[in-house]
Symmetry: C2
Subunit: 203 residues, 2 copies
DNA sequence: GTCTATAGTAGGATAGAC
DNA sequence: GTCTATCCTACTATAGAC
């Protein structure tokens, strides 16, 4: 083989990202990542002690990219900070698109296989994504932080649900999925803003 | 070994259901199902030509059980047909609980691995679940079928999202996840019912 | 840091005996 | 219909040469 790399570690992470994009988490294989990078199956073990550690590195990269995508979308839709609802809608669409192209989202960032792993990148990215939505939600609902905190899991559930259902083919196309996600979060924000003290239904 | 079964096929499907509940789709293995059922690794192949066919059978069973769970919950919360919103909330909670106990939901019922498979049980169950929600949604929003049709994917996205996020540990406990799902779908129905002709936000 | 070689594990699937 | 035996494949991980 005799291939020489400037940065094998990064190349392997890229290959791993590709593998997940193609076949989901179970398709992440150290051996296949090595094959695609042009090195032997043993080489990756100089950079990652085990498949688990490799997965953590790939997930951290994905989390960072996801944070970037959502932040860019939110900022782009609301450059002056006056349109928090538009920012939330844009972030929702960005999430659905990200998952469609990478097959990676909250499900990988917070993957069960990663429980108990103390990776700074992962934790930070998770909090960063939450902050992107939280800040806008506070702005969109009139400054009530508690309402925003309640809205956060709803936002995550909706965008993750749309992204997942899109993956299994329940939407006609990607744009439909993204539109449903954006429309739904907007409806919820609107309902919250107009009646932020109404009780929850269906206990 | 020499084990004798009245219905090995059914026993294998039960074992397969257990495997998925424990480790998700990738944990479904013909060999392991055989082991747990007390037969040789070759025995299942008398009943299922391949792992794929085995998966279809397990998924069909899951779809049937899911339909049952959601229908029972909806009927139980609305025995007289006068409380469609309560029925929708109950179905939402039932979905989250079902996924928590079985690790199977829309993601398996409509699994990518099953694309193009023409299994009657799967198709029927998918439509049945849709109907459970559609009928109640029409009742809850004042008889507007189009609003109900639009609401269906939102319902699915929300309950699936809550169930998935619960699996990766983003809720404090199962009841919180189910409550968020029920609360969110109720808020949406309420918003739809009060303003069924409002335009969608965030195009 | 990367290679070759190898041990160990596990699953999918088939052939042929009973 | 089930068994034993077997083949093939693929991946994780390690040892030791370069």
């Amino acid at each position: 083989m005799g291939y020489h790399h400037g940065d094998l570690r990064a190349a392997l992470i890229d290959a791993g990202t590709e593998l997940i994009a193609e076949g989901g988490l179970p398709a992440l294989s150290v051996a296949e990542a090595a094959r695609r990078t042009g090195v032997s199956a043993a080489a990756p073990y100089r950079h990652f002690p085990s498949r688990q550690d490799f997965l953590v590195a790939v997930a951290a990269q994905a989390a960072h990219d996801l944070e970037d995508a959502m932040r860019s979308a939110a900022d782009g839709a609301d450059s002056d900070g006056e349109h928090p609802v538009a920012a939330i809608a844009a972030a929702a669409k960005a999430y659905v698109h990200f998952v469609a192209s990478r097959r990676t989202g909250f499900g990988v960032v917070f993957a069960p296989e990663l429980r108990g792993v103390h990776d700074e990148g992962l934790r930070d990215a998770g909090r960063a994504v939450s902050d992107i939505i939280l800040l806008r939600a506070i702005g969109a609902t009139g400054g009530d932080a508690q309402v925003a905190v309640d809205f956060l899991p709803q936002f995550m559930a909706i965008v993750h649900g749309c992204a997942s259902l899109n993956q299994v083919g329940l939407f006609n196309d990607l744009d439909s999925a993204a539109d449903v996600a954006a429309d739904t979060v907007c409806r919820l924000v609107a309902a919250r803003a107009s009646a932020s003290n109404s009780g929850a239904v269906g206990g």
